[in-house]
């Protein structure tokens, strides 16, 4: 680590960045004038926490910009066991989150084209394409991404990340830690849990060597506790969607989920979600819903369509449809009970084996059914995501079962989480319109 890099980091992130972003946030919080670009005639005023979300994300990417040379940097998959790295002081970047941000800022086509021009097929995951395009061209809406000193890929969301991270490892010529999590068709057998535990154990010396320091057990426990606290809060936040009217929609969840993905294990994240929960409770006590008029309530399955969040939110809100829960955002909360700070590695092995994406298609169907009941929902939109096969395969049967066996209206909506070229607005609108009619029957 270099003194000049540390100095630059301190000045640009800790002094200038924090002050400027803090000031921007305070200004936004105290502004009486709504700066929302979303339609406030059908949607409630955006959550006040939005200003804080913006501050946190901006600060996170700003810290990344100056991290090289000051802190070790790891690039990690979204379901990756980040606690060991956090406890060692790594700056952690999640290329998937960066991909989502590029999607929301409509930068994907430009960046992904860089990867496609280099030979990467449009049939591979659009997050991966966006990331590789960004690596090859340096293009990013956040200014600059830090180079990784270490890569960590955990297969608990898909095998795609293995292939993607091998490309990154080859490009950056840095160590790649693989945490391979056998798919859980039913229950994870003992040997699978031991397998993951051993890999977690083996990841420690590699992470220590790159970071140049030794992992303190106590620090790991602290981080794990913060991770658990944040995850529990996130679960509670999503649970508030059970209220009528729901104080937040899944579109709000998509916007405010970044910290639970990329800042797990940090105190700021716990504070952030405590504040969000408080704001939701205030809304509930005043009877304020995410929609001005909530008539029907839906579940969203699969990743968001990042580049059309606002369109979808408004299209549905106009018709009084609130999408109040999602299997996707739920994935970052449902495992909270498995985290046990007294048994860090054992509990991490289980926690990281059991995300919804590492479990069978029936489990996902049951999760949807349970959520429909718990949240008192009228139907389900299953986003059939062209470039995310692990989440999407099984949806045809899931939709059919929801309709035929459980009498729950369900719609399969073809799109892609990040690539607008795989999205046809007219077709989406007509499918949604037909679905709305079905909901009214």
């Amino acid at each position: 680590m270099s003194v000049s890099a540390t100095l630059k980091y301190m000045v640009n992130v800790n002094i200038i960045g924090k002050t400027a972003l803090g000031w921007q946030r305070r200004r936004a919080e105290h502004s009486t004038f709504s700066s929302s670009k979303w339609r406030t005639d059908i949607l409630s005023e955006p959550l006040r926490i939005g200003a804080r979300t913006k501050e946190l994300i901006s600060l996170h990417y700003l810290a990344g910009r100056y991290a090289n040379g000051h802190r070790p940097v790891a690039w990690v998959t979204s379901g990756g066991p980040v606690e060991i790295l956090q406890a060692l002081g790594y700056y952690v970047l999640y290329p998937e989150n960066h991909g989502a941000l590029c999607g929301a800022r409509r930068a994907v086509v430009d960046i992904s084209t860089e990867a496609e021009n280099a030979g990467y097929s449009r049939d591979i995951c659009s997050y991966a394409r966006t990331d590789i395009g960004s690596v090859l061209s340096g293009k990013t809406p956040v200014g600059k991404l830090p180079k990784p000193d270490l890569l960590l890929a955990c297969t608990n969301i898909c095998q795609t990340v293995l292939h993607w991270y091998r490309v990154l490892a080859d490009h950056f010529n840095v160590p790649l830690i693989l945490i391979d999590t056998p798919f859980v068709y039913d229950e994870a057998p003992d040997h699978a849990i031991k397998f993951v535990r051993r890999q977690l154990e083996d990841s420690i010396p590699v992470s220590e060597q790159v970071a140049g320091k030794t992992l303190e057990y106590k620090k790991l426990q602290e981080v794990l506790q913060l991770s658990k606290d944040a995850t529990e809060l996130w679960l509670e936040i999503m649970g508030r969607g059970k209220q009528h009217p729901a104080p937040l929609s899944v579109f709000d969840q998509f916007i405010h989920m970044a910290p639970i993905v990329e800042m797990r294990g940090l105190k700021t994240t716990v504070d952030f979600y405590s504040q969000l929960l408080k704001e939701l409770d205030e809304r509930i006590s005043k009877g304020i819903g995410a929609l001005k008029k909530e008539r029907k309530r839906l579940l969203w399955d699969n990743l968001p369509i990042w580049y059309r969040l606002r369109y979808l939110s408004e299209y549905l809100a106009e018709r009084g449809i609130a999408v109040v829960a999602s299997t996707y955002t739920n994935a970052w909360g449902e495992l909270a009970p498995l985290i046990n700070v007294d048994k860090p590695l054992d509990s991490m092995a289980r926690t990281y084996l059991y995300p919804i994406l590492n479990k069978g298609t029936k489990y996902k169907l049951n999760t949807m059914r349970r959520m429909v009941e718990d949240f008192d929902l009228n139907g389900v939109i299953l986003h059939s995501d062209r470039s995310c096969k692990p989440y999407s395969i099984g949806q045809v049967d899931q939709r059919n079962r929801l309709i035929k066996e459980y009498n729950i209206p369900a719609l399969l909506l073809e799109a892609d989480h990040d690539d607008p070229r795989a999205y046809a607005e007219e077709q989406v609108a007509s499918r949604l319109a037909a679905f709305m009619e079905m909901l009214e029957d």
Partner: protein, 361 residues
């Protein structure tokens, strides 16, 4: 030169069942053949098959899933796997993971389903895990068949497969001398997908014992990818004046398993798979794949590589840009072809291969 008579899939399955054996339909790519055989179960692999009416699969799968998986599901639903008693689904990729899960949860065919997880590395813990995974498969098979083959039987079955694989290796090594056309050579190699090892051994020995072979004619190339379908592509390559002298195909060369070392059967089965030639679905690095392909080219004087891949196959697609660039930098040019198992060999593909061969000169 002609091949000796080789029984086809149906003949093989029927004969095996007549001798009170059972059949396991197995999806790609890696699995322990010997473990099934120890229970008198013959594994018969399902690589699609090509040219299936995919409408049945379309009732469960989105169009962006590869044709291997689409066809396999359609084939199953049309009754193509009715002769099988079990279906084994190795966890090769996200698509096969989904396929296995759909079978277990929704399609629920009459056959018992065995999912099988393959670790993505070759570390000591991967070996331990895979050994246990095979032990678990043994317990499943035992529960279903009522048999409990001893360690001795397991080892005997392993050695028989090792002998078959050794002969397969010899066929590859003598590819330069075994004067079979591209089509015939791969027809023979691919019988490993369904023939009992003992039948394969006797056919391979006959072929290897022939004398007076010629070198294959034409520009020497390596074929890489998943599966050479339609097989007609091999004849086309011959007609275009080239010889496939080596391959890095998932159904062929990536399964040239060396003999294991351990005397503990499950461990030995695991060793064999983990030490197989590089394969992206088992997590090998780009550098390992590059070195392997360069070595193959060196050994066989191959002058180029045809990457012949199935559309939507992420494990293959991710590697190609960097792998091809590395090979090019090392003086080994390549061309990339994408196929769908249900499409006939198009003029466009023939033209691209032809143009590539012209460049190789």
């Amino acid at each position: 030169m002609e091949l000796p008579a080789i029984p086809n899939r149906i003949e093989t399955i029927t004969a095996f069942k007549q001798n009170s054996g059972m059949i396991a339909a197995v999806l790609p790519i890696h699995y322990p053949r010997s473990l099934f055989r120890a229970f008198d179960v013959l594994p018969v692999e399902v690589w699609g098959p090509p040219g299936t009416d995919v409408s049945h699969g379309g009732a469960h799968l989105q169009p962006y899933v590869c044709s291997i998986v689409h066809n396999a599901l359609s084939f199953l639903k049309k009754g193509g796997l009715d002769l099988a008693d079990f279906i084994a689904v190795p966890h090769t990729c996200d698509s096969l993971q989904g396929f296995g899960s759909i079978l277990l949860d929704f399609v629920k065919p009459k056959q018992s389903i065995f999912p099988l997880y393959l670790p993505r590395g070759n570390r000591p813990e991967d070996l331990r895990f895979l050994t246990e995974e095979f032990r678990q498969l043994y317990r499943h098979l035992s529960g279903l068949t009522g048999k409990k083959p001893s360690e001795e039987i397991l080892l005997r079955c392993i050695r028989r497969e090792e002998k078959a694989d050794d002969l397969l290796r010899q066929l590859y090594e003598k590819r330069q001398k075994v004067s079979l056309s591209n089509y015939s050579f791969y027809h023979l190699v691919r019988t490993r997908e369904y023939l009992p090892a003992e039948t394969f051994i006797s056919i391979a020995e006959k072929v290897l014992s022939r004398k007076g072979f010629d070198n294959p004619k034409g520009t020497a190339i390596i074929l890489s990818g998943i599966v050479p379908e339609p097989m007609e592509v091999l004849t086309t390559i011959t007609e275009l004046g080239a010889a496939v002298v080596a391959d890095d195909l998932a159904c062929c060369g990536r399964r040239l398993y060396a003999s294991g070392k351990s005397e503990q059967p499950f461990r030995r089965m695991a060793e064999r798979i983990l030490n197989a030639p590089p394969d992206p679905t088992r997590g090998n690095s780009l550098e390992e794949r590059k070195q392997y392909l360069l070595r193959l080219a060196d050994q066989t004087d191959a002058r180029g590589v045809v990457f012949y891949d199935v559309k939507f196959c992420e494990p293959e697609l991710f590697d190609l840009p960097r792998l091809r660039a590395k090979l090019k930098a090392a003086g080994l040019p390549s061309v990339q072809i994408e196929i769908d198992l249900n499409d006939p060999l198009s003029n466009q593909i023939v033209t691209r291969i032809g143009a590539f061969l012209e460049i190789l000169g």
